[in-house]
């Protein structure tokens, strides 16, 4: 510190020296005292010399003027009297010693070193500067809008008004506090809620619920989870197994499974009967109900779509035949009347045990091997023509039962085939009966049908051709059947009266039906008397039971027949008349001929080629012939310029570029510019695009909903500016875009500025007045 002090003092000393040195010309009186006389004299001499100059006199004048104020002012320090100017150094003389005033000295030094102030600028310049500063400031504040403006200009869509209506989020407690229950229902609800201590705030759980949530311990939870897992695993295992089993294709397997199931069911049923007869009765009722359902719906009577398709295939497909058979069996099973059981229930236990169970079993068997004369016959007929006669003989004879049984055991599939054949025959038969066995009308109808059948698919046609071979024989068979029918109709009359004749009930009934069929279509009506009859018959001769199912089967078949008839008749009819096909062929040929004749002159391909050749020729650049006939040689009628000359003056046209359709034989591409199309084309690339491909791409992307999904369509067609009708759009605000707007209002700023300005003005005015 001492060192610093010393340095400072030294500095001040040197400064003082300088101060002393500076105004060397008019020295102060106080300093004079210390100097010698010689110096004073010298000075006076110098003054005298100086006074010779004009300028100095002026200076003196100035000095004189300052003499006006003689009095000592407390504000000013005057050096009057001495005729010398007061110098700063004079004032600092007493300060020299005191070191405490160093700061003041420093300041003084700084003041001394400054230059004089420049003149103030004139008003215009000042204002301009003000304006420039203000402008820069303003443009800076405006520049903050640049990003927003840019964003809005480039925005895909602007929705006005810009400010979003802020939906007020009110906490639910507030709503509740303000809301009060008024209606009794509301009161009730509130009471309930209060009773349960239902909280209204966020975790909407009652204490009870919370407790229950907490209640489950970890172990318990684990156990439960394990249980669940096990259950799930088991389920998936069973599912997988079921799926696997379902996938097994083996029919045998399925048969076995089915049989097993049936056996099991039977066993169960028997057990049930022993243990709990009422339950068994219920079961029986169920079966009865199923039967009723079946009878009503005829679900398994080969009348469905599937069955019909199978019937078509049955002739060629063994499986299909079997399937049909199975279905029929099922039907049979279902429609089996269980009257016996009910009777037996009434009568006693032992008997019906015998009757019931074997009944079902037997019937199925019987059904399969049923002594069906029709089947027999058809089976034989199918084999060969020569058996036809045997057929006709066999038909009325029921004796053939045993034989047929034995046969069918050997080949069960053949039976189905016979079945189908039967259908067809019956159809034919029915037709006959309808037409009163008239050959001529039938023929007519057939021709009609054939004409209507022109649209038949080729497959069917093929089938027809295949069947043609059999036709003849069948016809014969049909005729024989017709005769038989006649005989039977004669027989049918006593049938109803005498139950004894009901040994072959199936045939009688079918004949009846045939007659009925021609009269009425309703099958249900028919069924009623039939069933009644049957009941009668079963009551009369219960010994004849094995025959009964057969009769039923016949009926079913008849129903079947009817169903099939509705759709199949046309094809069958056409089958029977081979001549019609030939006719058709002829017609086709004629048709073709006619078409050929009608378009005899038209050779389209040739025409096209010709056209193309012409087009090519027309588009080729032409040679220019400049020969002048008669120039340099004889000219006139019939004279031609020489070949040499022609060659010389012929200007050959240059080869054009190869045609675009050169390698496309079936196309003519017109290479001329189409004026009509040009009117619709854009000629110059429009402004924002820089390359024609860009433009083309924008044109080629469709925006309509025809080519775009709904979402894409909406996106593509969003309008650029959306305004809501009836909404006032206010100018954009800083708050809207997230800027902080100036909190002070403009007017308050103006007023404060105004005050400052006015203060400034006043000062200025004062200054002026002082001056």
């Amino acid at each position: 510190m001492k060192a610093i002090r010393a340095a400072e003092s030294l500095l001040t000393l040197s400064q003082q020296d300088e101060l002393v040195d500076l105004p060397n010309y008019p020295l102060s009186a106080s300093e004079d005292e210390g100097d010698n006389d010689r110096e004073r004299k010298h000075e006076k001499l110098l003054e005298a010399i100086n006074s010779l100059d004009g300028k100095n006199s002026f200076r003196y004048k100035l000095a004189e003027r300052s003499e006006a104020s003689l009095k000592v002012s407390e504000f000013n320090v005057s050096s009057e009297g001495s005729g010398e100017k007061l110098v700063l150094a004079d004032l600092l003389e007493p300060v020299k010693t005191s070191s405490s005033l160093t700061t003041v000295k420093k300041q003084l030094k700084r003041v001394k070193s400054k230059k004089t102030l420049e003149l103030p600028l004139n008003k215009e310049e000042v204002e301009q500067i003000h304006r420039e500063v203000a402008f820069n400031k303003t443009s800076q504040t405006l520049s903050k809008w640049d990003p927003i403006v840019l964003k809005n200009r480039q925005a895909e869509q602007l929705v006005f008004p810009l400010e979003k209506e802020q939906s007020a989020f009110v906490p639910i407690e507030h709503v509740f506090s303000s809301w009060k229950a008024r209606t009794p229902l509301e009161h009730e609800i509130f009471n309930l809620l209060h009773k349960n201590k239902q909280p209204v705030t966020d975790p909407l759980l009652t204490p009870m619920e919370q407790a229950s949530l907490k209640a489950m311990s970890l172990e318990e939870a684990k156990m439960r989870r394990a249980e669940l897992q096990r259950a799930r695993a088991l389920q998936s295992y069973y599912e997988a197994r079921a799926r696997r089993e379902k996938k097994i294709k083996s029919k045998k397997y399925h048969k076995i499974v089915k049989k097993g199931k049936a056996k099991k069911a039977l066993k169960e049923f028997e057990q049930l009967r022993k243990v709990n007869p009422t339950a068994a009765l219920e079961e029986l009722e169920k079966i009865e109900k199923a039967r009723m359902m079946e009878r009503m719906s005829l679900k398994h009577q080969n009348s469905g779509k599937w069955a019909k398709s199978k019937a078509i295939m049955a002739k060629y497909d063994l499986e299909a035949r079997q399937a049909m058979q199975e279905q029929l069996a099922k039907n049979k099973e279902l429609t089996q009347k269980l009257q016996v059981v009910s009777e037996s229930e009434e009568e006693g236990g032992a008997e019906d045990e015998e009757t019931l169970v074997p009944d079902v079993v037997n019937e199925v068997q019987m059904d399969a091997n049923g002594p069906n004369p029709w089947m027999l016959r058809s089976c034989n007929s199918d084999s060969k023509e020569d058996e036809n006669q045997v057929d006709s003989e066999q038909l009325p004879e029921p004796v053939a039962q045993e034989f047929s049984e034995s046969e069918e055991d050997e080949r069960p599939m053949a039976e189905e085939e016979t079945l189908l054949k039967e259908f067809e025959e019956r159809r034919a038969l029915r037709k006959r009966s309808e037409l009163k066995q008239d050959a001529e009308p039938m023929g007519r109808q057939e021709t009609k049908d054939s004409s209507s059948q022109e649209v038949l698919s080729e497959v069917r046609a093929l089938a027809q051709r295949l069947n043609k071979g059999n036709l003849q024989s069948r016809k014969r068979r049909v005729t024989s059947a017709g005769t038989v029918l006649q005989v039977q109709t004669e027989e049918s009359a006593p049938e109803e009266e005498e139950p004894i004749l009901l040994q072959r009930p199936e045939r009688v009934q079918t004949l009846e039906e045939l007659e009925e069929l021609s009269k009425e279509e309703c099958s249900q009506k028919r069924e009623l008397p039939r069933s009644m009859l049957q009941r009668e018959w079963t009551e009369r001769n219960p010994n004849n039971q094995p025959d009964a199912p057969k009769g039923k089967k016949k009926k079913e078949q008849m129903i079947n027949l009817q169903n099939l008839l509705t759709t199949k008749t046309p094809s069958v009819k056409s089958l029977e008349v081979p001549t019609i096909e030939e006719l058709e062929d002829e017609e086709e040929r004629v048709q073709k001929q006619m078409i050929k004749e009608a378009f005899a002159g038209d050779d389209v391909i040739k025409d096209f080629l010709k056209e193309k050749r012409e087009a090519v020729e027309a588009n080729k650049p032409k040679d220019v012939d400049l020969t002048l006939p008669g120039w340099g040689e004889w000219g006139g009628l019939g004279l031609k310029p020489s070949a040499k000359k022609r060659r010389r003056f012929l200007i050959k046209a240059p080869e054009g570029p190869p045609r675009k359709d050169k390698n496309l034989p079936n196309v003519i591409i017109n290479e001329k510019r189409n004026i009509h199309a040009a009117a619709h084309q854009v000629r110059v690339l429009p402004y924002p695009f820089t390359h024609y491909q860009q433009f083309e791409r924008t044109i080629q992307t469709p925006i309509g909903s025809t080519w775009n999904t709904q979402r894409a369509f909406q996106k593509l067609t969003t309008p650029k500016v959306v305004t809501k009708p009836g909404h006032i759009i206010k100018p954009i605000k800083a708050e809207d875009v997230g800027y902080r707007s100036s909190s002070r209002s403009d007017i308050s700023i103006v007023q404060s500025n105004q005050k400052q300005l006015s203060g400034h003005h006043k000062k200025q005015l004062k200054k002026r007045s002082i001056e």
């Binding site: 301009q128 400031k137 403006v149 006032i728």
Partner: protein, 445 residues
């Protein structure tokens, strides 16, 4: 046997309500639709034609004034209310939905030079030739009361225009100088002047509300900063600017309606070159107003027509005129951006649709979708010659049409002359001046 079946989910074809459209499954594979472009082109053509067919912009004429309508003002809070001042000193307040005058005030003697509403919509100000500024209540006087202004300020000079601040209780008038007034005082809180010519209009910036623009008859446009109480910059154009209007969405953009038939859009930070010169009018442009969306503006001209310009186009997209409409003095775009009002010499205020072919009223969603689609189609195919021609076609009165032709010839002659001069003088001595720069004489700092 595995059976495969065709199955359809009803969700794909069953509509939820019977008001919905039937769902039609479509295959959008572009290879199946080879004629997309021609089909869309035809649709665009039809849309353009329909637009022209349905272009009926004129909605109503509000008559009642007994002299030319000199100024218009929008109500800031009500879309249906409009104020107008006439040349006989009468101010009328109109209800647009009823298309009726709901109030009439004899406000001034001589012209009503300017009218403006307060931002809250409770009162409005008028200035007139009688050197007064009057403040009026928006609601009419009660029964038995006389129609009297809330305040009246007597000035020393004539005021030629007035505009109200957008947020604060202050307004600005112009005449000899631009005065900014506090509503509570009878003396202006500051007055700004630059030059000595009369100022014809003053407008507050709606976004940066301390900014003002004015235009004077010595051909200049002056910008002021109200807070610093100083002018900012001045640009001198070829001819006098009648009025300016600030863009309500872009703080630094304004458009000036000039006597030389053009409008100039400026960025106020760079006044030496206008951003865009909008030319289509054939006579002095008297008024201009921006659409509240800031995308377009409407201009009224002495040539008896009003035109709508997009801000980034130099040519107008629409021209409205009727046989009876005379020189249009003032124009306003309503604040829902759907309608345009114009007041003209022959004492009528006319109401137009801003979009000539727009369907008024509530649109169903299907109508809306069709409208949007058609709009996009028109945009997409706007460069195709046929569509362009149809979309551009407007009927014009013969006078305007012939004047356009005449001016085209004049312009061509001037261009040719300049070319010739350039051709026959020293290279570089006749510089090429762009159209934008041609009209700006000077920018004064």
């Amino acid at each position: 046997m595995k059976v495969k079946m065709l199955s359809r989910n009803p969700d794909n074809y069953v509509r939820e309500t019977k008001l919905d459209l039937q769902r039609v499954p479509r295959n959008y594979d572009p290879t199946l639709h080879p004629f997309e472009v021609p089909r869309e082109y035809v649709r665009a053509l039809n849309a353009t034609k329909l637009e022209r067919v349905f272009a009926k912009p004129f909605l109503a004429s509000l008559d009642g004034h007994r002299d030319g309508v000199n100024c218009l003002a929008k109500h800031p809070k009500s879309l249906a209310t409009v104020l107008s001042g006439a040349c006989d000193g009468e101010v009328r307040i109109w209800n647009l939905t009823k298309r009726k005058c709901i109030r009439t005030i004899q406000a001034h003697e001589g012209f009503v030079r300017g009218i403006c509403t307060r931002f809250c919509g409770t009162s409005f100000f008028t200035v007139g030739d009688d050197k007064t500024v009057k403040q009026w209540k928006m609601d009419g006087p009660g029964c038995g009361e006389e129609e009297e202004p809330l305040h009246t300020i007597l000035g020393k000079t004539v005021y030629t225009g007035i505009d109200h601040h957008w947020k604060d209780p202050a307004f600005a008038t112009c005449g000899q100088q631009v005065d900014i007034w506090d509503e509570q005082r009878t003396n202006p809180i500051c007055s700004m002047t630059w030059g000595y010519d009369s100022i014809s209009s003053v407008k507050f910036n709606p976004i940066e509300t301390f900014l003002l623009g004015s235009c004077a008859s010595d051909r200049n446009i002056v910008l002021y900063d109200m807070r610093q109480a100083t002018p900012l910059k001045k640009v001198i154009l070829d001819m006098r600017t009648n009025t300016i209007c600030w863009n309500p969405m872009e703080a630094f953009i304004f458009t000036a309606a000039n006597e030389d038939y053009n409008l100039y859009t400026f960025d106020m930070r760079a006044l030496d070159t206008p951003l865009m010169v909008h030319m289509d009018h054939v006579s002095a442009v008297l008024d201009v107003d921006y659409s509240p969306t800031g995308k377009e503006f409407v201009s009224a001209s002495f040539d008896k027509s009003i035109r709508i310009f997009p801000i980034d186009r130099s040519r107008s997209r629409e021209v409205y005129h009727t046989k009876r409409m005379q020189h249009v003095i003032c124009v306003k775009w309503t604040s829902d951006s759907k309608y345009i009002m114009c007041g003209s010499d022959e004492m009528n205020i006319r109401l137009w649709k801003a979009n000539a072919s727009e369907k008024l009223g509530v649109l169903t969603s299907r109508e809306k979708a069709a409208k949007d689609y058609n709009q996009k189609l028109k945009e997409k195919f706007q460069y195709h010659p046929h569509i362009k021609r149809i979309a551009r076609h407007r009927h014009l009165p013969k006078s305007i049409y012939s004047q356009i032709q005449e001016q085209r010839i004049m312009k061509e002659a001037r261009r040719r002359k300049e070319l010739n001069r350039r051709k026959h003088s020293k290279p570089g001595s006749v510089p090429i001046v762009s159209e934008k720069k041609k009209h700006v004489v000077a920018v004064v700092k």
